[in-house]
Amino acid sequence: MKRLCACKTCRKGPLGLILGVCLTLTSALVPWAEAGSWPVVVRDALGRTVAVPAPPRRMVVLNSNALDAVRILGAADLVVGVSSLVRNNTPYWRELAALPEVGKWNSPNLEAIAALDPDMVLTYGNNPGQEIEALLGPLGITVLRLDFHHLSTLEREMEVLGRVLERPDKARDYLAWHRGWLERIRSMVAPLIGGAGGLPKAYVESYASYRVSGPGSSIDEMVRAAGMRNIADVMAVPFAEVTPEWVAASEPVIMIKAGSTRDSYACSNPDWLESKRRSVLARPGWEHVVAVRDGRVLVLSSDVCPGTRAVVGVAYMARFAHPELAGSVDPEAIHREYLERFVGLPLRGCYAVGEARP
């Protein structure tokens, strides 16, 4: 009889098959299985149900945002392999950077993963392709896809990972901190945006020049959480090209530029971010863009947006857009608390340039 599922559970024979069918039915009826009972059925970033047969003991993590989450949950000791993103960023990842590398986040070496004998691979929703489930599944490796990329899904994904790693308390602890700051920033911004001027308009540019971060992008969610209106909210695609003329005609009073994915934590001199800001200010004809003319251009490191530190990025944006908050929102203090409390690192590095200091 042909097996319907190739996981370790189902390979045990007819009993495994029956169990597999039960799991599928359970997942359809009850999205969240009870904590502590195994197998655990969870919903991944693609909305699919994934049965995790037993608590993972050896994990390969391709998604650096998810690795942050694993570290927040105090499960770094379960990680046996990482992607090259982590190997390139030693001061921040510390001992995790010394783990065996299994290739790029979007095209890993599956044989290198298998050689580490993991029971779980934690990766992005859409990368690598779904062939890894087909190829690693028969080896008894569960592939769990969690992005930790959007504010709208970060909380749910943290709950899922907390359940899978049997650390729901730590997940709740982080989420209370994350929600707390997000709510505080929203409540502080709310009275400021009800005036005649409404939401300040922001031009939010992705890594590439003249490409917006529009609806559907993680930065767009953060911009809205920080009390701004993204002028690209009319776009049909997340990273559309726009003309300088459209930017000028839309009259944004703020510009936010996505900064570097270089290791911001190791940075002691923000030259890299500064040069990016200078190049924006020097673009031909951009003196007609209100935000550029007024010098209100914030370059923000991608290390604080998106991911588990997204609330730090939201705080930088909120303070930049609403200087009235300078006394009550301190991104550095929020960041310090995150690093010291959840990661065990002191605050250092370069994360934002362009803002007026309080």
């Binding site: 390139n88 790029k104 095209s107 992705s206 890594y207 590439a208 020049s209 003249y210 490409r211 009319v234 776009m235 049909a236 695609v237 990273f239 559309a240 090209e241 726009v242 003309t243 300088p244 003329e245 459209w246 000028a248 005609a249 839309s250 996505a258 570097s260 994915t261 270089r262 890299w272 040069s275 990016k276 190049s279 924006v280 673009r283 031909p284 004809g285 003196e287 007609h288 991608s302």
Partner: protein
């Protein structure tokens, strides 16, 4: 006056027919110049800032206040850059097709665009996409290097057309592999910038970039026009051209160098804008024939009009998104390319 002999009458008839042909082709050239001018005006009158044609033209004269300033600073550079890029790519394509005697040749098939692409990717990898000067300089240098490699290969084999094409294809694959290698090793930010560079964009055009592009694109124009008879003879075959006194190797090497300079100058700031170098010469050939005295300027004017038209369509088809110019020119060019392939099977070019 003595009566005309039969031979004289034939000559007179031939001269009259030739003059009529030249008149028709000159009229076609004038029409293309008008088309190009119309494309410029159309491009100037379309934009997000709700500035119509009247205001846009007023802005060119220095008036119009803030709206005029927007036209001069943001809209006009786009038009000028689009025109220069189209002119350069189309004339480079016409030259390449003539010296290789191949209707499907273009600066892209010689690997020059792949070299430029690799150079841009290398610049982004080393300095970041926001260092536009480094990216453009690296792109230009690698395009020039590609041309040198292909020419060196060709000279070693007597500058034969087949050697140039095969050498170009080989170099194209080499640079494609190197580009993929850098993309593989790059960060997400760099990959993002690299991918968008290959889409092509006129949004980065400022007057400094335009000046540098003009330095690469415009000086070769009179030089190529001076060679138009040689190019006509080359189309008849190397032996025929040699027997008529053409220094085949010199024209071929010089032509490739000028085409490479125009191509590199055209795309180093704007990214890859495909098919103009292939399609514009063929469209011009249909309109004015294969005489390079008319074909070269006609393809240049048509190339400029095509790029400007594609840019306007790209800006207006899905506002406020801009469909990148490289995508737009390919979308318009591919159907024509298929038509050319079908024509080619019937032996016409």
């Amino acid at each position: 006056m003595s009566p005309l002999t039969g031979q004289d009458a034939m000559v007179a008839g031939g001269m009259a027919a030739y003059r009529a042909l030249v008149s028709r082709r000159s009229a076609a050239l004038l029409a293309l110049a008008g088309l190009c001018l119309a494309a410029c005006v159309w491009s100037l009158s379309v934009g997000s800032a709700d500035i119509g044609l009247g205001r846009a033209l007023e802005a060119l004269a220095g008036g119009g206040g803030h709206q005029g300033a927007i036209v001069r600073a943001l809209r006009l550079p786009r038009v000028v850059m689009g025109g220069l890029v189209g002119l350069g790519l189309a004339m480079a394509g016409t030259t390449t097709q003539a010296i290789l005697r191949n209707p499907l040749a273009s600066p892209f098939t010689l690997g020059i665009a792949s070299g430029a692409g690799f150079g841009a990717v290398l610049g982004i990898f080393l300095a970041g996409g926001h260092h536009q000067g480094v990216v453009a300089g690296s792109s230009f240098a690698c395009a020039a290097l590609t041309a040198m490699v292909v020419l060196t290969l060709a000279r070693m084999r007597g500058a034969r057309a087949e050697t140039l094409i095969l050498g170009g294809v080989a170099v194209m694959f080499l640079f494609s592999a190197l580009t993929s290698l850098l993309q593989y090793a790059a960060t997400m930010e760099q990959v993002h910038e690299m991918v968008f560079w290959f889409f092509g964009s006129l949004s980065k055009a400022g007057w400094n970039e335009i000046a540098l592009t003009a330095v690469c694109v415009l000086p070769p124009v009179p030089l190529l026009l001076r060679w138009c008879w040689d190019l006509n003879l080359l189309m008849a075959g190397d032996d025929t051209a040699r027997s008529a006194g053409v220094d085949v190797a010199r024209v071929r090497v010089g032509g490739i160098l000028l085409a490479a300079l125009m191509t590199a100058g055209a795309i180093c700031f704007t990214g890859v804008i495909g098919f103009i170098g292939l399609v514009a010469p063929h469209m011009a050939r249909i309109l004015v024939g294969s005489d390079h005295r008319f074909l070269l300027p006609a393809s240049g004017l048509l190339g400029a009009a095509l790029v400007l038209g594609a840019d306007v369509l790209g800006r207006t088809a899905w506002p406020p998104q801009v469909v990148p110019i490289g995508i737009m020119t390919s979308l318009l060019g591919v159907p024509f390319f298929f038509w050319l392939l079908l024509r080619r099977t019937r032996g016409a070019w």
